[in-house]
């Protein structure tokens, strides 16, 4: 649990300010890769991918929600 979720969220929003959709997408991709490196544990990362795919709505999320772990 992050100690100050609002501050982190704001920093994340700031990081995207002024970027084109393409640049934003690349920034997020870099963030994912950096965080993945910090986590460094493949099962945890695969679980995170499954969670991300399962959350939300739509046919893919609905199907995957049944299989994905709950945090």
């Amino acid at each position: 649990m992050i100690s100050d979720p609002d501050a982190f969220y704001a920093a994340l929003m700031d990081a995207h300010r002024g970027l084109s959709p393409e640049e934003s997408r690349r920034l997020d991709a870099k963030l994912v890769l950096i965080l993945a490196d910090r986590i460094g544990d493949l099962p945890t990362l695969l679980e995170a991918i499954a969670m991300a795919r399962a959350a939300g709505s739509g046919p893919v999320a609905d199907r995957l929600a049944k299989e994905a772990p709950r945090a």
């Binding site: 997408r25 690349r26 950096i34 490196d37």
Partner: protein
């Protein structure tokens, strides 16, 4: 100095019906390697090919260490080392900058380096020469196979020549007739896999350049925006350049020498004269046959499996197929092993092909992103890699060919002294065609060629000790293809003989 393309004479058929124990179909890199390997084991071979020359263009180019060791075993290793360009550094560029470089850091104390670049036609020309010298290889140029009956007892091949047709009855057929294999299609065998929607232009370019002997790979360079480019140095002042063109490119228009020259000029910059020697356009697939052995017809190399060119896994994979199959076929022909031993070729080389397909598919997916997300991630990796070392392992410009380890480790080389003279361990393993026992301390009398460390060879560098970790009284049994198949007490004769019998499928 440059290569002179040979034209081999076609000979008329000797009879309307002929018989041979082994027929190799296709005198390319893999077919010629198989023919030489069999001939070195005393097996006479007929090789038929629909053409009358060796490879046109550099094609396979990167020969990996394990492949060089195989050519060492076949007596051609020194030629590869002498003529080929040895390299170990790769550089990756993204847009206008160098992102990072890597060094394959080949371990010291091996006769062969990680990679040698050499035009495929040299390798084939040397193989033709060596095959001819054995006196056991009957090379038949412009003898095209036009039909096959794959019988349970023998295979009948229909062959056409400029002088007329004949039938060739073979006990065994090695199908080395390439990605568009006639034999595979004639037998109606499936060859399925992923088609990559991309086209590549490859060129051999002659020029005087002082670029180092390194592998240079560009993602999205200013001289070829949005695509990738690969540069390799070859002997004879020849450079190999691969341009990614994208799926929309018109293959005919792209082959136009003026257009190719413009692309190369943009890459090299002004004031650098060059000459185009060979140009080809290709698309590729990653696929394999379900099985490689079909009774008496056995498929090798591109005829059996195809990969993308990233990672140099096509030619190397095919040569390693021949390495795996030929000693087994020779053992079956001599009655030393049952026919079922040939099924182990499938069991061992199908997973090896799958590994090559996996790596080359992943490299292709990285190099040619299929959607916006894939492109964003690829560019993210490249941007991070320029600055942070952790991201470099994600960069995939081809995972370079390494030996498959699923059926035992290839015996590691080491410098040795033999009768006081510097020598290499691998030169004494499998060179006589048989199994080898490498032992520390006294070994049982088994009839198997035995090398005792300290008696027959001297481990003056300590690298045999380091690489084999043999305890006193311990031995490793090594297959004729230089793969370690057992570790056992050196004095236990029965254990050693039964280990060999097991490997031979008895």
């Amino acid at each position: 100095m440059s290569f002179r393309q040979p034209r081999f004479p076609a000979m008329p058929p000797r009879a309307a019906e002929e018989a041979a124990r082994v027929v190799v179909v296709g005198a390319g890199l893999v077919g010629l390697t198989a023919a030489l390997d069999l001939a070195r084991r005393g097996v006479p071979v007929v090789v038929v090919d629909d053409d009358d020359t060796v490879s046109v263009g550099s094609r396979a180019i990167c020969f990996a260490k394990r492949t060089l060791e195989i050519y060492g075993r076949l007596g051609l290793g020194a030629r590869f080392l002498e003529k080929g360009v040895t390299w170990k550094v790769g550089r990756v560029f993204h847009r206008d900058r160098e992102t990072y470089s890597f060094d394959l850091l080949p371990e010291e104390g091996h006769e062969y380096p990680a990679f040698v670049n050499l035009q495929q036609y040299y390798a084939e020309a040397w193989l033709v020469e060596a095959c001819t010298e054995t006196g056991l290889v009957d090379l038949r140029w412009r003898h095209a196979v036009t039909g096959i009956e794959n019988g349970a007892q023998a295979v009948r091949l229909a062959v056409e020549t400029p002088f007329g047709a004949y039938a060739l009855h073979a006990d065994w057929v090695l199908a080395c007739d390439g990605a568009r294999s006639f034999l595979r299609r004639a037998l109606g065998l499936r060859f399925e896999g992923q088609v990559f929607q991309d086209r590549f232009l490859i060129a051999d370019v002659r020029m005087q350049a002082d670029f180092p002997a390194e592998r240079w790979f560009w993602f999205d360079p200013p001289f070829h925006p949005g695509q990738s480019v690969l540069l390799h140095k070859q002997p004879d002042d020849l450079w190999r350049i691969d341009f990614q063109l994208g799926w929309d490119a018109d293959p005919e228009a792209e082959k136009d020498p003026a257009r190719v020259s413009a692309r190369i000029a943009a890459m090299l910059g002004p004031g650098r004269p060059f000459e185009l020697e060979w140009v080809s356009i290709y698309t590729f697939r990653c696929r394999r046959m379900e099985r490689f052995r079909h009774g008496r017809t056995i498929f090798l190399g591109d005829a059996a499996h195809q990969v993308s060119p990233f990672g140099a896994r096509g030619g190397n994979g095919g040569v390693q197929d021949a390495d795996n199959l030929c000693w087994k076929l020779a053992a079956v022909l001599s009655g030393e092993a049952p026919e079922s031993l040939l099924d182990s070729y499938d069991a061992e080389r199908i997973p090896a092909a799958d590994e090559n397909i996996l790596h080359s598919t992943r490299a292709t997916d990285f190099i040619t992103p299929k959607n916006e997300a894939a492109r964003a991630y690829r560019d993210a990796v490249l941007e991070l890699a320029a600055r942070y070392a952790f991201a470099r392992p994600f960069v995939n410009s081809g995972r370079l060919s390494r030996p498959y380890l699923g059926y035992g480790e290839p015996a590691p080389d080491a410098p040795i002294l033999r009768q006081g003279r510097p020598d290499w361990l691998l030169r004494h393993i499998g060179a006589d065609g048989g199994f080898t026992l490498l032992a520390r301390g006294e070994a049982a009398e088994t009839g198997i060629r035995t090398l005792i460390i300290g008696r027959d060879i001297e481990d003056h560098s300590g690298l045999i000790a380091e690489r084999y970790r043999l305890a006193e009284g311990e031995a490793v049994l090594i297959r004729p293809d230089q793969h370690i198949c057992a570790r056992l007490p050196a004095r236990e004769r029965d254990a050693i003989l039964s280990a060999r019998a097991r490997v031979l499928g008895r």
